[in-house]
């Protein structure tokens, strides 16, 4: 079984063997091309939003018009023509909310092909074909600009957990949305976040009430399908006092020659003693070998440990996207709060990754931990960029950072740009970074035991990223290990 797997993988050695690259043929409704106040009004009207939200969007739009696209990241791309994009696209059949039974079978087939269980009795099999029974997962499936279905809503409702598309939350729980939306990533935060605030179309909303441990994993699956569209989703997760939630996010897109924009905003809020675990497996279409096509992934993710002893943990596996510009961060505001960031970023072909995290220590006795593993192959560039800062009143702040890079091939680049700012004597920061290639000794050892070059590299790389893999929820683990070896295919020798 495993051998067969390896043989198959080796036989399709090529970066552009992206297995989620199919398109779904489905009729869709789009906003008129281009970006203007009318586009914003169009999206808002489609969602049937209240006046305050429209105003909020318009304000963001007006601000965005005055802003300049940031250029500090180590990524290079042709200027994006923001007026040549569709900002809203929805499958025609998904226009009205429905139950699972009413969802367009074409859409269901798409998710089936992607291996995403939308039927409540279905279980998520880690590796296709393997009979792994995993715990149940509630899924919010977002297709282009809209959420098509959310599963297990009733069962979650019995526990008091709200899990629904954010547009539905605006309608059903306006007080919560109004209180927390934009409170972690304000509309003025940065160019892409401001754009998102103006035109975001859908995303997931989670509220876990006081003292509740969410009975199952929550998950959102993002799929870009339509041509020439951008996806702008917005996720808002609130863990009330003493609650716990684990949330997974997955993403894929068809193979297209054009570059597509994905500018999401994710806001997490953890109140006293609450914990949020947020895991991402990002596998957007990375473009072909020559760097043609692929998703521009410009994402703002930030968690606010607002309460005492709260905890937010980010785990990310980044293998896709032509360009990744993403810094999931933690604001450690509550005393005794804790932030974690575990990341594996793999780049091959002509991918460009500029990713990392920010740990901002504001409260007393806060601690944070950063483990980042970057792997660059082909002609790609992989940059870790991070900030750890302790403010004057952050007594006893603690941070440990480790960022390691692995280079495979002599045409790629691996870079580390950490910023460390200590403004308090009792803060203790430790940062270490290494860059190396796969050691000849390790490779020789594996080859000598009868492993092929490809298998040996996969084994060593999996060992290299082990610290991060351990943080992933079980359901993602097998998938991720496979993803890592696929992403690195063809990069040896």
């Amino acid at each position: 079984m495993a051998e067969q797997d390896t043989i198959e993988r080796v036989s399709e050695i090529d970066v552009d063997k992206y297995k989620y690259g199919f398109t779904t043929d489905i009729e869709s409704v789009r906003a008129p091309k281009g970006l203007s106040e009318d586009t914003v009004r169009f999206i808002s009207a489609k969602k049937g939003e209240p006046e305050w939200l429209l105003e909020w969007r318009l304000e963001a739009y007006r601000r965005w018009r005055t802003m300049e696209e940031p250029t500090w990241a180590r990524v290079h791309y042709q200027k994006i023509d923001y007026d040549d994009l569709y900002y809203y696209s929805a499958p025609k059949s998904a226009e009205k909310p429905k139950s699972l039974a009413d969802v367009d079978p074409e859409l269901l087939r798409t998710y089936e092909k992607l291996g995403i269980p939308l039927r409540e009795q279905a279980v998520l099999a880690g590796v296709e074909g393997a009979q792994v029974t995993a715990p149940r997962v509630a899924v919010d499936a977002v297709f282009d600009s809209v959420s098509v279905v959310t599963t297990f809503k009733e069962e979650l409702g019995r526990a008091g957990v709200i899990f629904c598309p954010i547009s539905e939350a605006v309608r059903d729980h306006p007080e919560l949305v109004r209180k927390y939306l934009g409170s972690v990533v304000p509309t003025s935060d940065n160019y892409f976040a401001t754009l998102n605030s103006a035109v975001y179309s859908d995303g997931s909303f989670v509220y876990v009430p006081e003292g509740v441990r969410c009975p199952m994993e929550l998950s959102t699956y993002f799929r870009i399908n339509e041509q020439n569209t951008g996806q702008f989703e917005r996720t808002l997760i609130i863990a009330d006092k003493g609650s716990y939630v684990s949330y997974l996010e997955g993403c894929t897109a068809p193979m297209r020659d054009e570059n597509q924009l994905h500018a999401a905003v994710v806001e997490l809020i953890a109140l006293d003693d609450a914990e949020i675990k947020y895991s991402t497996v990002q596998n957007w279409y990375p473009g072909d070998k020559e760097g043609k096509g692929g998703i521009y992934n410009f994402v703002t993710k930030r968690g606010d440990c607002r309460g005492r002893n709260s905890k937010i943990s980010w785990t990310q596996v980044e293998t896709g996207s032509a360009i990744t510009w993403k810094y999931p961060s933690c604001i450690l505001r509550g005393d005794g709060s804790r932030g974690e960031f575990y990341s594996i970023a793999i780049s091959n072909g002509r991918q460009q990754v500029d990713s990392g995290t920010k740990m901002i220590h504001l409260g007393k006795n806060t601690s944070s931990r950063i483990i980042s593993k970057g792997i660059a192959a082909g002609r790609s560039d992989n940059t870790y960029r991070g900030l750890v800062s302790a403010h004057r009143r952050a007594t006893n702040a603690r941070n440990f950072t480790q960022c390691d890079s692995l280079l495979i091939g002599d045409q790629c680049g691996a870079h580390t740009v950490p910023y460390i700012e200590a403004k308090n004597a009792s803060a203790q920061f430790e940062h270490e970074a290494t860059t190396s290639k796969i050691s000849d000794d390790q490779l020789f050892y594996c080859l000598q035991r009868g492993l092929s070059q490809e298998e040996a590299v996969a084994l060593i790389v999996n060992g290299f990223v082990r610290d991060v893999l351990q943080q992933l929820p079980m359901e993602f683990l097998a998938e991720t290990q496979k993803l890592i070896s696929i992403s690195l295919e063809g990069s040896v020798g």
Binding site: G413, Y419, Q428, S436
Partner: protein, 441 residues
């Protein structure tokens, strides 16, 4: 390969002050009547004007906002007259006593009367101003003093240079004692600009000590170009010390095949000290060991910025930076290790440790790796924290009073960087400086 980014021009009052200063002194600067000299200066001034005075939005100056920290530009010293200077009083007996070939620059001028470097065996020495008098001399000299790209400090030091040490050591020459360049910015409220250049021939061996002291609110700008030939060895110690002065120093070091460069930098105090440099490997099998220590208290702001550029394969770099900050002092270390494509078998390590003695002190660090070759071993580390309570307790339990225990631990902390100096006289002098700093609290 530089840490700088393009800086957008803006003729704000910050730039205007420098342009006005130049307009007021350009007729009296050395070589004012020699067109080649004038062109050389004005090229630098134009480069400065195009870059502007850097501020915190300029990435390389993120933690040292020069526009905010340098709100005045003093009149340029070193043009007319001569200042009374006592070397021993300025730099201390221990440093003054080091047996060396001495080149003293005081108040922006070369002081032949206080120097001993002239005619030293194997050393060709000339003060920069002596080479700017005729078109013929200037042409040859300035051709060897190009302006580095995007270096604001080098641009200022060039445009306003009143002098500087031009030193050349013949191939194979092994100096019997160190060269000691002493720069005294003595005048209250004056600005001084020097430009130095040192060339070591293939296989030469030398030790250079630079001592920069500033009195009062002096402003000192300097740029040093060091070229180390194949198989040559240079040990280079630089000490910057002052209370209220502003030091802006920049350097570019290039290493030939198999060359060895061992710099030790120490900065004690100063209203603002920015010492930036590039160490570039141009040939294989060369190595550098950079050790640095910062001791700052009061409102001092000390910034060390270093780029180690591995442009050739099989080179090794080591960096160790120790930072001690008290009161409201701010310490900055920006270290970049760049490995260019093809620089295989590079071995680069960097470590920065900061000790914060006060809750108002601040340490900002940006250790950066930029790697384009796969067969390399590179790493960096950075830590920040306070004195280890366990160590303090241990010392106190042995009957050592608190103040002394602290001093011992701090001295040991910076000692890790400074103990590598092998010149005994210099070693003793540095120890004395550290002890004096600790005792001054």
């Amino acid at each position: 390969m530089t840490i700088h980014q393009a800086i957008t021009a803006a003729a704000t009052p910050s730039e205007q002050r420098f342009l006005d200063l130049y307009a007021s002194v350009c007729g009296r600067l050395p070589g004012a009547d020699v067109p080649a000299v004038r062109a050389w200066r004005e090229e630098a001034l134009d480069a400065f004007a195009a870059m502007g005075v850097p501020h915190r939005r300029v990435e390389a100056w993120k933690y040292t906002d020069l526009r905010a920290l340098m709100t005045t530009v003093h009149p340029l010293g070193g043009i007319d007259g001569s200042e009374q200077v006592e070397v021993i009083a300025s730099i201390g007996r221990a440093l003054a006593n080091i047996d060396s070939y001495r080149a003293v620059f005081a108040g922006g001028k070369f002081r032949a009367d206080l120097s001993t470097i002239q005619g030293a065996p194997g050393i060709s020495f000339a003060p920069l101003c002596s080479k700017l008098k005729s078109e013929a001399d200037a042409g040859a000299t300035l051709a060897a003093l190009p302006l580095p790209e995007r270096d604001i400090i080098a641009a200022l030091s060039t445009a306003f240079a009143t002098s500087g040490a031009l030193i050349s050591i013949a191939p194979g020459q092994k100096l019997d004692r160190p060269i000691h360049i002493i720069v005294i910015a003595s005048g209250e409220a004056n600005a001084y600009a020097l430009r130095h250049a040192v060339t070591l021939g293939d296989g030469a061996e030398a030790t250079i000590i630079e001592t920069h002291v500033g009195a009062g609110a002096a402003q000192a700008w300097s740029y040093t170009a060091l070229d180390i030939g194949k198989g040559a060895t240079l040990k280079h110690a630089r000490l910057t010390q002052s209370d209220a002065a502003l030091h802006l120093a920049s350097s570019t070091v290039t290493l030939g095949e198999g060359a060895i460069y061992e710099p030790t930098h120490a900065a004690i105090g100063g209203a603002l000290t920015r010492s930036e440099g590039t160490i570039r490997f141009n040939g294989p099998n060369a190595r550098t060991t950079y050790n640095a220590a910062i001791l700052a208290r009061g409102h001092s702001h000390v910034d060390f910025t270093l780029v180690v550029d591995h442009a050739a394969p099989h080179c090794e770099s080591r960096e160790l930076v120790k930072v001690v900050l008290d009161d409201r002092a701010k310490g900055v270390f920006q270290g970049k290790v760049a490995v260019q494509r093809g620089a295989q078998k590079t071995d680069g390590k960097q470590m920065a440790n900061a000790l914060l003695l006060s809750n108002d002190a601040e340490f900002d660090s940006k250790p950066e790796l930029e790697i384009f070759a796969d067969d390399v071993v590179c790493g960096h580390g950075a830590t920040a924290g306070q004195l280890d309570e366990d160590l303090m307790f241990y010392l106190k339990s042995r009957g050592i009073p608190e103040a002394q225990a602290r001093a011992l631990l701090i001295a040991a902390f910076v000692g890790a960087a400074l103990d590598t100096v092998d010149n005994e006289g210099l070693h003793a002098a540095l120890d004395e400086k550290v002890a004096a700093w600790l005792a001054a609290k």
